[in-house]
Amino acid sequence: MSTLIFEQSRPNRIAVAQMASAVEVKGIPAALRRTTRPLLPQVSEMQVVRHYTRLSQKNFSIDTQFYPLGSCTMKYNPRVCNSVALQPGFAGRHPYAPDTSGQGLLASMYDLQELLKEVTGMKGVSLTPAAGAQGEFAGVAMIRAYHDSRNDTARSEIIVPDAAHGTNPATAIMCGYKVKEIPTKDCGDIDIDALKAAVGPQTAGIMLTNPSTVGVFERNIKEIAKIVHDAGGLLYYDGANLNAILGKVRPGDMGFDVIHMNLHKTFSTPHGGGGPGAGPVGVSGRLLPFLPIPMVTKEGDKFRWLTEKDRPESIGRLSAFTGNIGVLIRAYVYARLLGREGMERVAEYATLNANYMAAELQKAGFELAYPERRATHEFIVTLKKEAKELNATAMDFAKRLLDYGFHAPTTYFPLMVPECLLIEPTETESKDVLDGFVAAMAKIKAEAQQDSSLLKGAPYTLPSRRLDDVRAARELDLTWKAGNVVS
């Protein structure tokens, strides 16, 4: 741990160059005034720069390490996307400034809507959701609005495969639905019989990721679509894995009624240590009226935001203003850099990388969770053998990988594959890096064979040794108080 910024604070120190001149506050009754200052540090500008620069160096990131976090699509984030978004014309514009003062921005947002429609095969797109989960909320809320609009109000269930991301069931609940889980078969496809048994007049819809989170393409998607549609339900597409199929298959063509896209994955906007993302939603024709606002429309050669007035059946607003515009600009720039051909290649090389790594890891003696299947843009290694025979768990491998300079893959997700590593290399990594990762995995296994306690102690070379999660949750220490020292 670095010294906390608070511990560097001294009374009455200020970063003068950042201060407005001091004026007296008039007119605010004493009863409404603050009497003690908040705990913000009193430090110089250089102290701040130094502290946070040094903290930054403690992170692994795409700009510094291979980061094959499955389901997260950690690909290169082009720097120009950032500089474009930070231009004063974009970054300095107030959300309620007149549309006439934002035609350049609105044109870009309109273009992005159109582009995403084409890429997904959907009929309409709203850019407003701030991340995947909010996109899911919008999507399921639209499913509900659709059924409600038809007075089909008995539909109370959303079907979710057991492999689904946690946001799927959580979202269904937020939309007032019950969740019905269906199992995934050993081959990685959904259990069609279970699905058939699950659907009925209570079915509002199903939420699917395809390729699914187990890293395979759901081959029976057409049949699934038919079963659900026949039962009167709608199909929701969780677009977290769109990177795998960009330019190859389109959710709209697979029969999905509504989708979200994680632009912070497929469209390479940075993850920023946890966000912001952008989770635009796309819909088929029948859900068009329900799209969340605002959306951009083009009238002649002018662009404007559509609001409640224009779209009375909309499920409404998901954020106070327009969603994560700055992220959407970055995604748009990325899309224009790629263009048609570039976009089609994304899926190809992401898939090539994943299948290559899967093949090489298998050769190195690791067990694939779905060895009979093609990997998509990601794949799963299960370390259940290593856990049992060597006492080396997925967690141990993950932590030891850090010592070798690789970020760990996603661990313990999806939940039904024991001791799993979900590995997603993305298309922007070179063969050398993949080879380096495979070699590290092999070396770690060899280490475990020698002495598995070595792995239990990992990592050794990072700013912290392995951290005690249990204690973190048991002895909650969520804010610094002068004097709260951990020992």
Partner: protein, 452 residues
Amino acid sequence: MPFIPHTEQDVTEMLDAIGVDSIEALFDEIPAELRVKGVLNIPDGMNEMAVARLMRERAAGDATGLNFIGAGAYEHHIPQAVWDIATRGEFYSAYTPYQAEASQGTLQLLYEYQTMTASLNGLDVSNASLYDGASALSEAVLMAVRAHRKSKSKRVLMPSTVHPAYRAVVRAVVKNQGIEIVELPYCAEAGTTLISELKQYEGQDITALVIPQPNFFGVLEDVDGLTDWAAANNAIAIAVVNPMTLSLLKPPGQWGQNGVDISCGEGQPLGIPLSSGGPYYGFITCKQAHVRQLPGRIIGRTVDLDGKPGFALTLQAREQHIRRSKATSNICTNQGLMVTASTIFMSLMGAEGLERAAAQSISNTQILADKLCAINGVERVFAGVNFHEVVLRLPKPVAGVLEALAERGIYGGYNMGTQYPTLSDCISVCATETKTAADLDAYSDALKAVLA
């Protein structure tokens, strides 16, 4: 191929290793009839030079005027260091800190953020962000419903002085969970929520009361009275506040006898560019008792194998990736980078910096309002105490006036009529510390000309 590093030789070797002939073969599990036919109708790729120029030209015409709009998004000075550091690759291109040992930078920063934000709100704990102020309020309402087990009504009182868009978002988010949002009228004279209006709800099962400060009119509410009313009536008190103003205003944790239970709001004023509306970030803080109902990520301090302090995500059992359908919220990706910037911002400004920026904004708005009210037919609408925003009545139709001002390079304010029919001849105006005396004059001159 943009951003794809593969050479032909790499591809050959890799295909050999996999044991297939072509990349195409890797897609053989996708039913043929589903494959994209022909090519996508998407423009050709451009190089960085061309894209940058296109976007430079597009940005050049945007937002060229002086901004006097507030209404939930505030133009404050942002030190250059803030985004220089926040966009360092190590912050910018990292993921959520799942591997704690490889994310101590982000984690420590977030712990510092939680400390600052909790303290600013006068409450015990903070999460590590939500999407924006409106989504934070929505989550606060859901949280109150979860936290208040005894209340069965799921009725939440919502002053109409809360930002209209926030109310719209809350409606959109909670409507499918059987929660009833009851809107409270405001006092047309004072521009505040009167406690007398709450009388009718006394003795009823009210789950929560929302209390904005300052409210959407820029007016200060009787937060002590409202908070005490909530306590007296067994309702959870939810504050929705502008964090910049908390440098001067009593923090929600100290409102009334016992403070509010939950305080949330929009983090944008603390170092986040206006950006046409986003990305911003929502913050949410609460009393320790409610921590397990708090949605979103939370960072805790712990120790490593050597006993040295370090940081990790904690209380993950509340979250969707563990708890799934029983999670406190579906939120996963949050607004991490914004919080990164905001933490740097708060560190640079310190309490004094926030105070000064807020005080200057109050003063500038006051001066501007006086100048504008000196123009014939322009007048203040509400008698309440203003912070850094004020509602003014205009003698000419608002839309036309704002348009004419925009043509003169002045974004003059927010058209209140779009959300409050009774205020259809009103705008709300805000002049932060970024405005000079000359700027204020420019506005009043322009308005004079437009109204003449």
